[in-house]
């Protein structure tokens, strides 16, 4: 029974990865399209959530990092950039490799390096916000 569900997840995940790739390529041309952004987020969210349900913990943990960044995009606190699309396509390839390995990551170092890049992207968004807030403060405190 468990094998049946695991296989069902794998089949679904491969389909989601195909949809993810096409959504990301469309997003590259239409970076402000909220429906595409939602589609990418939901694909990541489903792979993460369902992956954890059926014992694909490595896939779930990796996808969570990417989902977190796309949640920021979805909430409007981060814009879609070429860098983000490139990293997301690479993440898609990493997830596929893990699926091919039945949940085992064949190159954990590559996945980890990619996660670091996603975190840098998320962190640099945070730094940009901090700089913007600081600039606003300086303007309001300057004498007329």
């Amino acid at each position: 029974m468990i094998d049946q569900h695991r296989q069902a997840f794998k089949d679904e995940a491969y389909e989601l990865l195909a949809e993810l790739e096409s959504s990301l390529l469309e997003l590259e041309e239409n970076p402000a399209d909220s429906e595409l952004i939602g589609r990418v987020f939901r694909a990541m969210h489903t792979i993460k959530g369902s992956g954890a349900m059926f014992g694909f913990d490595t896939i779930a943990a990796f996808t969570h990092e990417v989902e977190t960044v796309f949640d920021q995009v979805r909430s409007g606190t981060m814009a879609v950039s070429q860098n983000l699309v490139d990293l997301s396509l690479a993440a898609r390839d990493r997830i596929k490799a893990m699926l091919d390995g039945d949940g085992v990551d064949p190159d954990a170092a590559a996945s980890e390096a990619l996660i670091v890049k996603f975190k840098e992207l998320s962190g640099s968004k945070g730094e940009s916000e901090a700089k913007a807030a600081s600039a606003t403060g300086e303007q309001s405190s300057s004498p007329r």
Binding site: M1, H5, A8, F9, D11, E12, G38, R39, F41, R42, H45, T46, K48, G49, S50, A52, M53, F54, A60
Partner: protein, 121 residues
């Protein structure tokens, strides 16, 4: 007569697992692929319980819960959300919309059955 439970989730594998588990324990199941599909089906069929994911296309779980509670046949049925731990704010939003409770993903089949038995008796 077996109780009829609707499971609404855009993940086919989760729907399959939930459906399989419920049927194994003697419940009848109707599946919906998203909130919109669920509402259409709820208008044509009375269910005894609704289990819904939150993040779904077309109409999300919160929208489905609100829509379901507006239907006379769903006003008082137990509605349980499937949610991830990070969605704490969503639990409150779901509760405000009319959800009875939630199950945190990932969950095991026996956890699902324990919740169902608790709310359905």
């Amino acid at each position: 007569m077996a109780k009829l439970i609707m499971t609404a989730d855009d993940s086919a594998s989760v729907r399959q697992m939930v459906s399989f588990t419920l049927k194994q324990h003697g419940y009848d199941v109707v599946e919906a692929v998203d909130g919109k599909d669920a509402l259409v089906k709820l208008q044509g069929q009375k269910v005894d319980m609704l289990i819904t994911d939150l993040n779904m296309p077309n109409l999300d779980g919160i929208g489905l819960i609100k829509g379901a509670r507006a239907l006379p046949t769903c006003k008082f049925i137990p509605i349980v959300m499937l949610t991830t731990e990070s969605q704490d704010s969503k639990k409150q939003e779901g509760k405000a919309a009319g959800a009875t409770g939630w199950i945190v993903k990932p969950f095991q089949p026996d956890q699902l059955i324990a919740v169902v038995k608790k709310v359905l008796g």
